[in-house]
C-alpha cells in the first residue's frame, strides 16, 4: 500500500527495483503475486500501477485510517463518518479483507500524508494501524523519504545526540524540541544569529519570513552550485557534489548505508573537508563555555 505518495514520479524505481515487481523465492511471479493499493487525494501517475486506487477526500486521511482501525476490530462505524472520507464502506471492508489475507503487508507513506492536515498525527495513526494489523498477519509501515541522504542525517544525529532533528546544544549537551529548535521556527522568530547551511537551499523553499532572517544574519553556505541561499549569504563556498565527485556514504530510506563511487574529480574540496577545516579554525578560538562552567552546568 502506498499512502499519500507518488513513487511513479518521485521515486521512479520504487515499484520496479524494490516493492512491486521483483520476483523472489516466495513471490515467483513478481508483480502478479502482489496486490498494490494507492490511497491519495487524486489519481496520480502511480494510480496506474496500482490494482486498487482509493481517492480520499483532502484532509480526511486521519479519519480514514481511524475508520480502518475500527473496522479491523469489527467495531461499528457510522455511514456518515465513512461518507466524509470520500471512500465507501464497501471499499473499506474490501481493503480490510485484503489486508488481513495478505501474507506480508507493507504501507509506504509519503508527504501527502505526513505534511497535510494532521501531519505527524496522520503518521502516528498509520503506524498504529500497521502495528494493530499484526494481530492478523505480518504488517509493517515505513515513510518514503526523499532528499537523497536525509536518512543519513537522521541516523547520525540519533547516534551522536540521541535525537533525529530539532536539536540545541546551547546548554553544552543535546536537547530536542521540534517547534522550538526546528529551523523554520527558529528563523521566523528571529532567534538564530548566524546560520550554516549545507546540502540544502532554504532560500528557495522556506517561508519568506525565514528567508528574510537568513538575509539579516551572517549566513554561510556550502554547495556545489551558487544557490538562492548563496545569493543572500555572507559566505558561499563551492564544494564537490556528493556521489558524483565526492566519495563517502549515503543511507537509503530503510537505513541501509551504501558506499558512494564518484565518477568525476572535482576542482572543489568536499563538504567533509571544508566543515572539518571550519571546525579546526573555531577550535583555535576561545571555547564558548568559560573554564569551570561545566561543573556548574552539571550541578544545575
Amino acid at each position: 500500500m502506498y499512502w499519500g505518495g507518488n513513487p511513479a514520479e518521485c521515486h521512479p524505481r520504487h515499484f520496479t527495483k524494490y516493492a512491486l515487481m521483483p520476483k523472489s523465492k516466495f513471490l515467483p511471479r513478481g508483480r502478479k503475486d502482489r496486490t498494490a493499493v494507492l490511497v491519495d487525494i487524486r489519481p496520480t501517475k502511480s494510480a496506474k500501477a496500482a490494482d486498487i486506487f482509493l481517492q480520499v477526500r483532502p484532509g480526511k486521511d486521519f479519519e480514514l485510517i481511524t475508520i480502518l482501525r475500527a473496522l479491523i476490530k469489527d467495531q461499528k462505524v457510522s455511514e456518515e463518518a465513512v461518507a466524509e472520507t470520500g471512500i465507501t464502506l464497501e471499499q473499506c471492508t474490501d481493503l480490510i479483507e485484503r489486508m488481513k489475507k495478505a501474507k506480508f503487508g507493507c504501507v509506504f507513506f509519503g508527504m501527502g500524508l505526513s505534511m497535510t492536515r494532521g501531519k505527524h498525527m496522520n503518521s502516528a495513526a498509520l503506524l498504529t494501524l500497521a502495528a494493530e494489523m499484526n494481530a492478523f498477519t505480518k504488517f509493517v509501515a515505513m515513510p518514503m523519504r526523499g532528499h537523497g541522504n536525509v536518512t543519513g542525517a537522521d541516523v547520525i544525529m540519533r547516534w551522536q545526540t540521541g535525537y533525529p532533528f530539532g536539536i540545541t546544544f546551547n546548554r553544552g549537551y543535546p536537547r530536542y524540541n521540534p517547534g522550538e529548535f526546528s529551523t523554520v521556527d527558529v528563523l521566523v522568530r528571529g532567534d538564530a544569529d548566524a546560520a550554516f547551511i549545507i546540502g540544502a537551499d532554504p532560500g528557495a523553499t522556506m517561508p519568506q519570513p525565514a528567508i528574510d532572517h537568513l538575509a539579516r544574519i551572517p549566513t554561510i553556505v556550502l554547495d556545489p552550485h551558487v544557490t538562492h541561499t548563496s545569493n543572500l549569504a555572507k559566505v558561499h563556498i563551492t564544494t564537490a557534489p556528493a556521489g558524483i565527485a565526492a566519495p563517502g556514504t549515503a543511507y537509503r530510506m530503510d537505513e541501509i548505508p551504501l558506499p558512494l563511487k564518484p565518477a568525476l574529480k572535482s576542482p572543489y574540496p568536499t563538504d567533509e573537508e571544508v566543515v572539518r577545516r571550519i571546525k579546526q579554525a573555531i577550535v583555535k578560538k576561545p571555547f564558548w563555555m568559560p573554564e569551570g562552567a561545566q561543573m556548574t552546568a552539571a550541578q544545575v
Partner: protein
C-alpha cells in the same frame, strides 16, 4: 579525453539510493547513467567539474577558500545562537562533521526532516 566506467555507482537523488548505476564519464562530465531513472539521469548528467563558480564568495565577491573558511569560522564563533541546517545532499562523512560543528559551537542542529 579518457573515458571511465564506474560500475555499481550509487545515486543519491532520492531516498531509494539505488546502487546499481553504471556511469560513463569523461574528465568533465558524466555522459551516461545506465539503469538510472529519469530523475537520477538528470542528477548525474547535470553536474560537471568545470569551474563554473568561484571557489568562494564573501559578501558576493570572489574570495579564496582559506579566506572563506576563516570568515565562516569567525561568524559562527561570534554568534550566540548559531544554526547548522540542511545535510540532505551531502555525505554521511560531512554530516558527522556537521554534528561535531554544532556540538562545538553550542548551537542549533536541524535537517530537512523538521520541515
Amino acid at each position: 579525453m579518457t573515458l571511465t566506467v564506474v560500475n555499481n555507482a550509487t545515486c543519491t537523488f532520492c531516498g531509494c539510493v539505488c546502487d546499481d548505476i553504471e556511469l560513463h564519464a569523461d574528465e568533465t562530465r558524466i555522459l551516461k547513467a545506465k539503469k538510472a531513472c529519469v530523475l537520477g539521469t538528470a542528477w548525474f548528467l547535470n553536474h560537471t567539474v568545470e569551474r563554473k563558480y568561484p571557489d568562494a564568495l564573501i559578501d558576493g565577491k570572489e574570495a579564496t577558500l582559506d579566506e572563506a573558511i576563516e570568515a565562516a569560522a569567525t561568524h559562527l564563533h561570534a554568534a550566540d545562537m548559531p544554526l547548522v541546517y540542511g545535510m540532505s545532499n551531502t555525505t554521511c562523512e560531512a554530516q558527522r562533521e556537521c554534528v561535531a560543528l554544532a556540538d562545538l559551537l553550542g548551537g542549533l542542529l536541524d535537517s530537512h526532516t523538521s520541515l
